[in-house]
Amino acid sequence: ETSKYRSLAGFSSVLFVVLSLVKVFLSQSPEAACLSAEDISPSSNGPRDDDPDDLFAEATEEVSLDSPERQPILSDGPSPAITPVTPVMISPRVDVFDRSPDQDEDEEENRDTFDIQISVSDPEKVGDGMNAYMVYKVTTKTSLSIFSRDEVCVKRRFSDFLGLYSKLASKYMHMGYIVPPAPEKSIVGMTKVKVGKEDLSSVEFVEKRRSALERYLLRTVKHPALLKDPDVLQFLESSELPRAVSTQALSGAGILRMVNKAADAVNKMTIKMNESDAWFEEKQQQFENLDVQLRKLHASVESLVCHRKELSVNTASFAKSAAMLGNSEDHTALSRALSQLAEVEEKIDQLHQDQSYADFYLISELLGDYVRLITAVKGVFDQRMKAWAKWQDAQVMLQRKREAEAKLQYANKPDKLQQATDEIREWEGKVQQGERDFEQISKNIRREVGRFEKDRVKDFRVVIIKYLESLVHTQQQLIKYWEAFLPEAKAIA
């Protein structure tokens, strides 16, 4: 049980110091090269859900002040696993205006402006046969200073996007950042395109992919840390990109799966993480539930898309048969009315088709995106457990080293004693680092989840309202068509 208190004590005391430092940081412009989240939180100027005070409230008061070795250490440096990044000068008061193509301006929120527009367009097939691939034009329009120009156009292929994701995931996921996953690979879809089938299904496939790639990029740059990542900048700006090789076998989801598998293995090793923070347990459960329901919803919506397409086809087929019936009907007025009915049904078939596109592109794709995003969120929670396990392991090692040193003291072997003392110091450092990392990732996750939830609320609201508007339009059209038909039916004499 002391481990629980230890982590609590460490957590709360470290946090206190860290956060007071954060406040200091925020009042000056940072010169650090690090990408710790405090500096570039988009909501650093706006209202924050995860206020430092909230975090504090959750940490319990119980502090069993242990050994003096546990000096509060400032966790202001980057975790050693990050490759140092070239310093980037951005004042925290960047106006970040959250604008994705699906959203309108939201004046109520005191959000900063986020002035960047990305579009993925003009899919082009390059090459022939099985070596062919699609190339997309990626256009970035922005006034942000990190970009070298106001408007940049580059050509990218699908594996480039996967390559970008895999780089970002390996850099940031273990820090607790939720890295938006890239779209899924599709062997069937791509083969059709490669083989050169110019039919409706391959056109739809390319459009679906183009749209998914666009959403992927927008989500990526919406993340304040990722926006400034040099790999992202290079992706958006440089005309030549080194070919991403390892993506041949891996997709975004593939990488996540690998990472999560490793995390699962870790979970099996650590019998139970002594969760000091109910927030994490609660959130994990919530995301678990959300995952289940979103998948269910996604499946139902996909079924709806399918049935509506079917309805459209069957309505068109019925329209034809009604026209034929009208032709053979020998009563003139009834014949005309039946032809009119056929016309109405034809128009309705088009309506159904349009509606099914709305079902798909608005709702189904959004749900698919979120199912993948939640996998990323779960991955991040697992990373935290991994960090905790690493810290615990270091503590165990330290204990062992201390015991070994004690033994050597009795055995009176001065040469080995020195080595043992050195090792103790080494492992003390590792324990402190482990604790720092754990606390850093925990803090990052809290912030990330707060941001994620805000975005989720916004995304769903906007999309669902848009969807309902499409349904309204459909009904209005239906009314128009049937109102035009009614007098025709009444005219049958």
Partner: protein
Amino acid sequence: MMQEGLDDGPDFLSEEDRGPRAVNVDLQTDATLQVDISDALSERDKVKFTVHTKSTLPNFKQNEFSVVRQHEEFIWLHDSFVENEEYAGYIIPPAPPRPDFDASREKLQKLGEGEGSMTKEEFTKMKQELEAEYLAIFKKTVAMHEVFLCRVAAHPVLRKDLNFHVFLEYNQDLSVRGKNKKERLEDFFKNVVKSADGVLVAGVKDVDDFFEHEKTFLLEYHNRVKEASAKSDRKIRSHKNAADDINRIASTLYTLGTQDSTDLCKFFLKVSELFEKTRKIEARVAADEDLKLADLLKYYLRESQAAKDLLYRRGRALVDYENANKALDKARAKNKDVLQAETTQQVCCQKFEKISESAKQELIDFKTRRVAAFRKNLVELAELELKHAKGNLQLLQSCLGVLKGDT
């Protein structure tokens, strides 16, 4: 299994269907003979119809009475008309289709088996829907049996048929059993022979323009109605499937709404509520299309077949007449059995002319009935579609208003 009174449960059919449930045909109700099905009971594998008659005709012992009949007895009545030579010149009202609850029963059974795998709300909801479906099928089969009786009652000649009166009045079991295997096989062969004969007969060119036109018209019309009927069924099934999906979406949204920790919870609950309501409307749209369009087409499929049968009988009589003429000529030439040939020829002539006369009227009536029925149903269909679309629109707009106001 389920015992249903007719007016139990939700009124699945539109409000217009009260009183004589003659949904597909426009019929005059005549005070001298009014027939309807006042009640029906669904038992394990059969349906019992209560046939209620009100009549001022002297043939009946009372002015108002009821009997209980089953489907086989309707078929017996229909077949007795078909086999009656006297009625060869009339369009015999098509027999009602057999009550078919198999699909619905199967679904209810599957639901019962799968009870453990779904939440209580889901189970109750699905059970309610399947029960509503069962009820709808039930109401439809009642309507179709009723229409048959009403058509017979409205026909100036058929309504006087003795078998019909027995059917209406005899309050004991008619002991009409369903056909056994041998008889069904016989029927099958009879049909084969008939259709082969029909082709031959149809090949005979008719001097009468009216009938020649009717022949061509009916053949094409019948086929096209068949097409349209099949296609409309498929369309309506897709519509029902889409409505089912919306039902599931509504349920999942509800769960999401109860679980979500953000502001979205209220949002999801509101949208879930909306979809519950719109789904009900979508289901009604599908049901009304089924009633006003699909059933109409199915009915006229059967009626046009009955009209074709009439033409066949007339064609057969024509061929017999022409053959009798040829036989008479031959007899006269040989001067052998002339009298016999003359009698045969006269009989055939009379038969043919009798059929022709009534057939003409029947076919004209058929057209009138058809036009009236289509008009009625198409108007009602358009009105119902409008009503439902407006209902849907209102729900959507009011929900949108609330949701947009919340943000």
